[in-house]
Symmetry: C2
């Protein structure tokens, strides 16, 4: 039985989806059952990479949502509104929804999930995280026997591209960003990518699926790469590390009422060169899932692009089409793995109580005794050190780079304050986490 | 509604499964619905890593299959018989089956699939390939929108462990194998691993899912690592490659009747150092899937072990439990993605017509003119070369290593015959494919 698809948006992802639906040969036979019935576009006159019959197009997205020939709504227009309202309207009309919109799911996921559960429809979003990489479906459908301990990922292609080039060429952040913008790898307004917000949206979604409960998106500590100095990438390399923008969701035990306590964050991170994520370069993404008893599994691939993202959107559509063949209608239950509703409470950990390894760069005048002072202040706070290295710099002064063992955040911060009281320590010029 | 699980086998994987079922807290809530109702073991008296009530145990596996309290049979005993008969008996009794048994699925998959389709039950096997890595479910449930072009994988942990140590230590195959056996990473009879048969079983299963049709397991060209000389690993490294035992299933077009033509094979392979599979070391596995439009996605993780394999078995059980919540009983259809029945014909390509890059090592007397002779013979067959390098060896003679561009197998073989006619070329001492 054919399934009517309504498409909201015909940008690169929407066109990629239409292209798959128009060329089903050689794909799973279920693709033949998917019929594109209506497409909402902004401008009817614009040239497009796919040929579509004129009568399929409309400039009114709500007409697609209410079209009785449309059984399943695919939202690939992006942005918060009207995307959120259209998704809710589709659910209200009893239609399944597939979206690639990480921003709307990260911010309005609870509202959308509640509406979907009330109506017994699926809202799937594989394309929202990791582009073409199957990651949300494996988390839901293949790792449910595990207790997830940590999810860590390189989930923003733009920043990974910039960091890869900074590392390979020694070029500055500003010059690589400008080049990435010229090449189309970074937006004219790069803030969502380079300040970490896009990665925070995605780790919020991953957290919900990995731990079975939602955390407040706006409360996720987020640091981007826009303040990163190339010299820290160079120093890190000399010490055996690469620098990546990592999004992490880590379990920190649970409260007495069973609420999961999670450390969720986004920040530039030093990774040992032999870490599985260290070799993920360019616009590729990868997500490492650590669980009991599976151990470490990693999912790697293209984090963006029309084709990969369309592959993920179509995967969601096929999952819904397949479930409809088991049973559909009001008597049918929902597949609890695919529906992935929340099943426990989660909250963010108090940041001061977490433990991390740190990379710190101090600017100081080059005097004997400074290293001793730094070591002493860390020692007084029980901050155990892996290395202290002094790098020579052009001009006056010295740079001292410290890598700590895993230490509690509060004591580490107190030590930094004490170190800065020494007149010859001028500044903490960089502070990053180390995995 | 609880689902009754019957376990055939309580070795490391069976015990791992029991352990997950006994400790559901913190795992997906559906795990709580899984009830272990009977377990077939070989010896009732043996000590086990899990505690089980004595009344759960039986030495009669067919009693588990026919037990009316058992809804789903988990086969983790291994071997061809009685595993095959028990799986068929479970299907005949209308029960779903989950198995970790690659040998039985690779050899009797068609028979088992036909029986399962006739009865409308699921037979799932995530644990049969890649241990804990979610790969079969993603192929079925997340990549159906793609035309798969190639699946290539490191899918045997024992041989990858041996190759990793040979490369890192320069040790011989025989000494590393002996050590691997002492450490429990290789079986007392290592043939299935080191001769490539285990990897061939697994690529047969991957091929069926990636391309939607079965290929005859016994016809898959299979070469192991048991003839591999450490010096070829060394030479490969000097030329910028690593050597891995690769299992590959590649699309070579289709016949006029629509039959897919596939090049499926297992052999030691040279990979460029920056290839995503090149950094997969030790007992880890990884599977790279290349498709249109997704591009390259890779799945990485522990290829064996009680915990990872049990994670995959439980994933299958959960998928079946989840589908049962949508609808069950004779009126319900099957989920076509999860059931993954064949949907087209596939056949193996005629090996002579395929194109490959090759690594060849010649033993020759060290005389001027030999390199010219080798180059001339390849040229006469239109075999284009990437490099010819002469390595000095202890004792008499020289070793000449050639890496070709992608060339047709037939012409390449003719060139080798011609080269060997020269009196100063003593032998082709190694010949491997290069990806």
């Amino acid at each position: 039985m054919a399934i009517g698809i309504g498409l909201l948006g015909l940008g690169t992802v929407g066109a990629g989806v239409a292209q798959i639906l128009q060329t089903p040969d050689g794909r799973h036979p279920l693709v033949k059952e998917l019929e594109l019935r209506q497409v909402a576009v902004r401008n009817l006159e614009r040239a497009r990479p796919v040929e579509l019959a004129a009568e399929l197009l409309t400039t009114d997205p709500s007409a697609v949502v209410t079209n009785p020939a449309v059984d399943l709504v695919v939202e690939v227009m992006g942005g918060l509104e009207p995307a959120r309202s259209l998704i809710l309207a589709a659910i209200e009309a009893g239609k399944a929804v597939v979206t690639a919109n990480k921003a709307v799911i990260a911010r309005h996921g609870a509202e959308i999930a509640a509406a979907a559960a009330a109506k017994g429809v699926y809202v799937l979003m594989e394309a929202a995280v990791g582009g073409g990489i199957p990651i949300l479906e494996p988390l839901k459908q293949s790792l449910g026997g595990n207790r997830i301990e940590r999810v860590s990922g390189i989930i923003n292609g733009t920043t990974n591209y910039i960091l890869t080039r900074m590392a390979e060429e020694g070029a500055s952040y500003a010059s690589v960003l400008a080049d990435a913008q010229a090449l189309g790898y970074a937006e004219a307004d790069p803030a969502a990518d380079v300040e970490g917000g896009d990665a925070a949206d995605k780790i919020a979604i991953l957290t919900g699926l990995a731990y079975g409960g939602l955390v407040p998106r706006e409360a996720i500590p987020t640091e981007g790469i826009d303040q990163l100095d190339t010299r820290d990438i160079d120093y890190a390399r000399e010490l055996g590390f690469v620098v990546k923008l990592l999004a992490v969701a880590e379990r920190h035990g649970s409260d007495s009422d069973g609420t999961e306590v999670l450390d969720v964050r986004v920040h530039p991170t030093l990774l040992a060169k032999d870490h599985p994520l260290a070799g993920v370069n360019g616009v590729n993404n990868a997500i490492l899932v650590e669980g009991d008893p599976v151990g470490r599994v990693m999912f790697y691939g293209p984090g963006a692009g029309a084709g990969p993202t369309a592959s993920a959107v179509v995967a969601d559509i096929l999952n819904i089409a397949a479930i409809n063949q088991v049973a559909s209608g009001p008597a049918a239950g929902q597949d609890p793995l695919l529906a992935a509703s929340s099943w426990r409470k989660c909250r963010l950990v108090d940041a001061g109580s977490t433990c991390h390894r740190n990379y710190v760069r101090f600017q100081s005048t080059d005097r004997p005794g400074v290293i001793g002072h730094i070591g002493g202040c860390f020692g007084a706070e029980n901050v155990s050190l892996q290395s202290i290295v002094q790098f020579e710099t052009e001009g006056a002064g010295a740079e001292i780079v410290v890598i700590t063992h895993a230490v509690e955040e509060t004591g580490f911060r107190r030590a930094l304050t004490a170190i800065l009281k020494h007149p010859e320590v001028e500044a903490v010029t960089c502070c990053m986490r180390t995995l």
